[in-house]
Amino acid sequence: MSSAFTPEMWRSIFPEIGLLILAIVLLVFDLIWLKQPQMRARWLGWMTSIGIVLIMGISAGISMPQGQGSVEWGGMLRFDAAGFVFRMIFMSAAALTALFASQFEALKKRGEFYALLLISTLGMNLMASAADLILLFLAIETTSLPLYVMAGFLTRDDRSVEAGIKYFLFGAITSAVMLYGFSLIYGLTGTTQIYELRSAFQAGNLPVGLAELVIVLVLVGFGFKISAAPFHFWAPDVYSGAPTPVAGFLSTASKAAGFAVLLRVLQIAFAGQGSLWTVLIAVLATASMLIGNYLALAQRSIKRLLAYSSIAHAGYILIGVAADSELGTLSVIYYLIAYLVTNLAAFGIVNLIESRVGSDEISALAGLNRRSAGLGLAMLAALLSLGGIPPFAGFFAKLLVFAAAVERGLIWLVLVGVFNAVVGLYYYLNVLKVIYLHPPVEEKEVFPPTPAWRIALWVCLAGILLIGFWFAPWYSLAQAATSAIWIY
């Protein structure tokens, strides 16, 4: 065992070191401004967001992986383009969430909230590049633990506390099942290295069905993180009870992190069992789409509607995973980028409306276009993008996912997907009908949106339009990540 550190090792975890330092800086400023809540409310969100953007910029400059990537830290970490692209996705989501949070009265003064947000992002970063089951499990826990607290952050609000406890209990149980799966993997193969597992499974002379059983156990944990049916029960309650910016973060970054792990583990460690898990994933995809879309039809709260829609979207994205091809992986990453900006925008607008009307019912959106034409248009873009209507981001994403499945001959899955997309469109349009045709409701308090909130929404909207119109840069990002996963 050599005990030397190489510069490559530090480059491979530069973003994580940056996030940790930023979290500590925020906690220190939280203490410095202990007696000045207005200073905290004004600056903490900005500091978080600008700090993350700086880290992203510097890591794009100095810690961009070269070529095929390498394995660092004694086989713990895979330093490749896939990890890099996913890191950028998580950190953008965190930067936007920090800005959106500054519109939320009870969050914007709390330094701990931003610190937890950063540590959770750190965990996601490591989830996306972990090459060892031990690091992977620790990264998943480092991601989840701060999220449990963030979901239950409003300790005086019963719904938020309920959301936190529910999320924690579900998370703990699914983590335990997943860890059991990991321990069986180690017991059966004698290695925890994801990149060695494929050959270890082949050499292990295992009886039929054992590796497949392990996959099922591991999928329980991953299914929870991406809120796919039948591991979705937590999602509606947690999304509606948690502070709205947290719900937005959960539905985008946390889901993306789950998919990053799913792609790497299934396509690398379990490449030999592809025929089984593609069927499993296809079943999960179908169940998620059906349950998500049909239960969304009956919702009256916009946050619950978005929660069920997020389950349905997990289903669409899983179609790309089930394709088990390069195009499939590419479509998953593209979809995650598109879904990130779209859903953050939707939750951001709901956040503002909620603080103004004091309710998260769909009826609170009535006549939004007459109350504020800009907000109405923004919601229109977000909802149509969720529904998969061109020219918005969601259209290309869905197209790619379906194309990947067609390429592999999964026609039935595509038919289910298209049918579900139509059902989904129905309830998105229903919300738009309320926004544009119903008489406006009275706003109790008029909070002017903070500059931070405005900028975050503009960035999201620009993303929705750019990803829809200007295909190339995002496609090549997803392409780079895909080829990094598929060289094995």
């Binding site: 060892d132 633990l145 054992l210």
Partner: protein, 174 residues
Amino acid sequence: MNGLQVVFLLAALVSLFSAAMVVSARRMMHAALWLVLTLMGVAVIFVTLQSSFFAVVQVLVYVGAIAILIIFSVMLTRRVMEDHGDQILPGWRAAGLVAGLLFAIIVGFLALWQGFTTMLVELPADADNLLDLGQALVSPQGYALPFELASVLLVAALIGAITIAVDRKEDQHG
């Protein structure tokens, strides 16, 4: 059946039984005490596997520190933590059946594996687990990164616990 196997079976039975008692005991205090016994059982299993260091750590950290902390917190919050109503879910039989069935399936599959019948391999007397463990934890080519991540995780847990437990007087409305 040799002596080691008997010890293992006894320890396993005791830990399983007391683990079941932890979740089914009606009073929090009793559950906490059963938890101590469960953790002791796990320590004995570590001993049968010749990992004396883990056995000691299990007793010192889990029994000595964590379980005692739990007992203290149960004692301090007795009034709040008194249970009301039924602690058993109405559908517990179905849940138990499904869990038992799944367990049987897993064990059934495992029994087909050649490693299932492997006997315990005794470690050579001069094997120094502790030295290897210590070096692996701090070596950059070993487990240094997960080790550091675990400390970040613990810091996050501390911050989170304080956030939940301390009620700041500042305006906190939903």
